[in-house]
Amino acid sequence: MNILVEHLTKIYGTQPAVDDISFEVRTGEILGFLGPNGAGKTTTMKAITTFLEPSGGEIKVGDFSIHTQPQEIRKNIGYLPENNPLYNEMPVVDYLYFAGAMHELPKDKINERIIHMISICGLEGEKHKKISELSKGYKQRVGLAQALIHDPAVLILDEPTSGLDPNQIIEIRDLIRRIGKKKTVILSSHILAEVEATCDRILIINKGKIVADGTADELRKKSKGNEIINVTIEDGDKNTIFEALKSLETVGLVDFIDHKENAFEIQSLPELSSRRNVFNLCISRGWVLTEMKVTEAKLEDVFRELTIS
């Protein structure tokens, strides 16, 4: 089921939280929603789930519009809200039964689904405990099980791994990736590594507007294209090497790397590579090149560049 967002706007008071954004997500795609806090990620997700009524614009999930068929959309969406609210006073199994019943699953099917959810979310040992007795990681799994109980075509996950330990994060990511193959998934996060590891496509949103849209690689390429290499050159005087490197015709900037002896960061001129020149320089001067590493533009840098203005 595709999700189509067109000219979505949500204004709180006089301030637009989401300002005329449009995008599309296709079946089988996992879209990562990235942005600083308060960028409008959660607002957009709430609008898609029909929880928030937008000030303007249209959202379609499949063929259903949020304005005219919200109930149809709700049937097809699994939603894990930010902060993962749960009925703490209920046992896990009862809660999942309630969620299943509300999603109109027939009685015999509910039990089957609950067993399935408990096994894929790893809740076997906790199923009869009250939700309030669970640790944060297990609560998150209950939230996810709730979102998946009716096998929805669309999954909206608002910061699904917040508050989890590294092992749990990896498990939840694997789970999302596995499930996401046949579904349309939107997940939000402000952890870049997570989005990069889980999502097929990334949407960066800042101050209510989309500032970038593409795969992680595409985004990296779009940011400053200059090659940056780190080198360590031994058997020579630090300052002599520095001057020599600087005089190479492909090199734009050279910098000492603080904590290492004879280590330099070299930034090449746009669209040029200095790697061969550095190597040849060392041979001609009799220096020993002990380290050369190409630093890729990090997604962090792309993100900072796009969201700090």
């Binding site: 709430k46 009524e53 709700r74 969406i77 809200p81 749960l86 209920m90 969620a99 509300m102 709730q146």
Partner: protein, 236 residues
Amino acid sequence: MNKILIITVRELKVFFDSLMAYIMLLAFLGFSGFFTWLFGSDIFFVGQASLTTFFAIAFWTLFFFIPALTMRMLAEEKKTGTLEILLTMPVTNWEIVLGKFFSVLAVIAFALLLTLPYYFSVSSLGHIDHGSVWCGYLALLMLSAFYISIGIFASSISNNQIIGFLLTLLIGIFFHFIFEALAGGSSGLLGHILSYLSVASHFQSMARGVIDSKDIIYFLSFIWLGLFMSQKQLKY
């Protein structure tokens, strides 16, 4: 219809799973029992086999008991955020509000069921008018439904349970006696309107055994109004 039942059942399960439920029921029965049987102008004072004393007392105990039950209904869901889960499930606002309403009504009905021994005891003491007793119970149920719908509305306007509790009492107190007191001092149309708004007269005529469509319409229309405003509050 089915989803109303699912919500009602969930609420009842949670309620009877907590210590709160038993304390509340005990308090209700304790107060009603004490004033009906032991204290002041109690049931023996009347000199007749009749439950009117109990109905008059329950009129007061329910007034305090119901806000304590309804205050968490929507306020807690708003506070913890579970309302967001509920409102993204395929369910209408009416179904949510009605589910909550019937769950509290069921608790009250259960509490009233526990007072049936009063009826059996009194009926063994002398000749009792059975019809008027059942009317009395019906009046209590109507009155409860009336306060429950006010209570759910009060609970829907904020995420604070205490506000829900106090606001229910505040609205309730107008219907309970302020309108009546004002009606006493007014004449003409205003006096009529005020005395019509007062819940006491409607309750008392029913509790005496007179079922008048006027009273039924009064209760049903306020119940509807309270629930209607509650479900409006759930829209964002």
